[in-house]
């Protein structure tokens, strides 16, 4: 949530800048024509059709209208409503088709709409215009929102699994696997607040990837954790891909994307700037 609003306020900040620059920004993604040939089945799993997302954000007031009782009262008397409510057009007409077995990396600067796009695909944000069609229920790798720092890893594993909709039998079955995968060993008996940030990230990834997802959306989950764990999670992503699922990956670490993805979408100010082979897109992205 915090990182979301932060990103949004940046979108807003960039908004008025250089409108003319956007003209060459949209080089017709041609999602169907450009499909790589290594797609195993070729059936679409996610179709994003001219998607627009508009947010309303609270609390972005300028300095002179901030949290001051007198100002609040004046606003009420003048019937101005809530001036601190701003609309943010975070995603502006994004169109693409994702297929079975795709691992799609999404790159772009802060505030380019990456996280928003993922949340829209997950069905957690309503489209302002356009539509998202999906096969089954895409899930965001975001179980950390349900976990509680004061509780032991053990309790959090159970809580997280239930939060993702598992049954008690499934939780029992997956429990040991999660502990092993996360590699936190005896720390599982300690509260999560005592974990290092790497350990916490490992446990969270282990919990959320324990469930079999048809479409998995990952937002910067692999940034933390040591080398060994990174290898493990990349293997897990490959495994999901091979079981004919689709993975979306948002990351600032371009190496991770290049190693795990077969396709990369470059978002810029809420629009697709480029969509295609990871090497091509990333080298273009690096040039700016």
């Amino acid at each position: 949530m915090a990182e979301l609003t932060e990103e949004l306020s940046q979108v807003k900040g960039e908004e008025p800048a250089v409108p003319g620059k956007d003209v060459r920004v949209h080089p017709n993604p041609e999602p169907q024509g450009k499909r790589p040939l290594d797609v195993p089945t070729g059936t679409p799993t996610v179709i994003v059709d001219d998607l627009h997302i508009v947010y309303r954000v609270y609390g972005t007031a300028t300095d002179n209208e901030k949290g001051n009782a007198v100002n609040a009262l004046t606003r009420l008397l003048k019937r101005q409503g809530r001036p601190q409510m701003k609309e943010v057009h975070a995603v502006k007409g994004v169109t693409f088709v994702a297929y079975h077995g795709d691992a799609i990396g999404i790159v772009g600067r802060n505030g380019s709409g990456k996280s928003t796009l993922l949340r829209a695909i997950a069905g957690l944000l309503p489209p302002h215009e356009g539509a998202v069609y999906t096969d089954g229920q895409p899930s965001l790798l975001g179980v950390n929102a349900a976990l509680m720092r004061e509780l032991t890893g053990e309790r959090n594993i159970v809580l997280g699994c239930y939060a993702m909709g598992m049954t008690p039998a499934e939780v029992k079955e997956k429990y040991q696997e999660i502990v092993d995968f996360s590699g936190i060993d005896e720390f599982v008996q300690l509260p999560m607040s005592t974990y290092s940030s790497g350990m916490g990230a490992r446990l969270r990834f282990a919990i959320s990837s324990a469930k079999t997802h048809d479409v998995l959306l990952i937002d910067e989950a692999l940034a933390t954790g040591d080398r060994e764990f990174r290898k493990k999670s990349e293997a897990r992503i490959r495994q999901i891909r091979e079981s004919a699922g689709t993975v979306f990956l948002v990351a600032h670490d371009l190496k991770v994307i290049e190693e795990t993805c077969n396709r990369v979408i470059w978002l810029h100010k809420g629009k697709i700037r480029m969509d295609g082979d990871p090497k091509e897109v990333i080298s273009a992205y690096n040039k700016g």
Partner: protein
């Protein structure tokens, strides 16, 4: 804000001229739109499937709540005890609110504990959606799970408070009778009412950001209107000389009804004309509020299901 029209035109021209529209393609492969509110019966079934999550979440919250304090879970007993002490000193000894009530400690504490249950559920329910936005924005689950979990969390606390209450009431000279078997019935009805109330207040709290600031005043007014410290009959008709129907209407207030029934069960000098049974009006009011609130609460909350966590 920006120029959606130009963006739309842009995307429509984008690469697909001559190919089938994406909506058709989606239909051909049986893909569905991501956002839709399930029908009401389906929604209730989904909630039932999430019962393990709801229970685990409620328990986890209770465990984590006291995890940083030295006395830990003991506070679950200490909090109601301290509250009982303060209210007794304040209203029983200093203000002398006993009136004509024979067993005032039992009268006061029964009212206080029963009312606190509803009050805490309503206060927690108002924050159940607005305080969990990050979870709502990351995970799929029927949103009613949250107010339900908060209610169950308070119910777990209440089980301990009730134990404390029964010990105190016995100590004041009210010996257990067979009528104590009715206590779970009253609490079940009150819980039904509370679930509905928390669902309604959760939706209101999600849409009106100022509700949390207002709520303390609302619950305090409700507290005074529910006759926790005084007998409604004595004060309204006896002291204030208001007509009898005013008192009757006040007894129809849901919390007043649950309090009255509980007092009838626990205190033998309360409403002596019926023994330990409540007056018919109170009984009807208790059942009505439970059924009405539960049904309306789920329906009202469900109507806004796809909008929680947005905007």
């Amino acid at each position: 804000m920006s120029q959606p029209e130009s963006a739309v035109a842009d995307a429509q021209a984008g690469g697909r001229s001559g190919q089938e529209p994406l909506a058709k393609l989606a239909e051909r492969y049986g893909l569905r739109r991501a956002i839709a509110r399930p029908r009401f019966p389906v929604y209730l079934r989904q909630l039932w499937e999430r019962r393990h999550f709801i229970l685990t979440y409620a328990t986890s919250r209770n465990v984590s709540k006291y995890s940083s304090s030295a006395l830990g879970q003991l506070w679950q007993v200490l909090t109601p005890l301290l509250n009982a002490g303060i209210y007794y000193v304040m209203f029983g000894v200093i203000l002398g609110g006993r009136g004509g009530i024979e067993n005032y400690p039992a009268f006061l504490l029964t009212g206080m504990f029963v009312f606190t249950y509803t009050q805490r559920v309503v206060t927690a329910g108002a924050k159940s959606i607005s305080g969990n936005l990050s979870m709502i924005r990351a995970l799929h689950f029927p949103r009613a799970s949250l107010p339900l979990a908060y209610t169950i969390q308070e119910l777990q606390q209440l089980a301990i408070s009730m134990g404390v209450l029964l010990v105190i009431v016995t100590a004041t000279g009210e010996w257990p009778t067979w009528f104590w078997l009715m206590i779970p019935v009253v609490l079940a009805l009150q819980t039904m009412f509370n679930i509905g109330a928390s669902l309604v207040i959760a939706r209101l709290g999600a849409q009106m950001r100022d509700l949390n600031q207002l709520l303390p005043f609302i619950t305090r007014t409700w507290l005074y209107a529910s006759g926790v410290f005084f007998s409604i009959q004595d004060k309204v008709v006896g002291s204030a000389k208001l007509p009898q129907w005013v008192a009757d209407v006040m007894y129809l207030n849901p919390t007043a009804s649950y309090i009255e029934w509980m007092r009838d069960i626990l205190i033998k000098t309360h409403h002596t004309q019926n023994g330990h049974n409540p007056p018919t009006m109170v009984l009807v009011s208790c059942v009505f509020w439970a059924v009405f609130s539960l049904g309306f609460g789920f329906w009202y909350f469900w109507r806004s299901e796809e909008r929680y966590g947005r905007g």
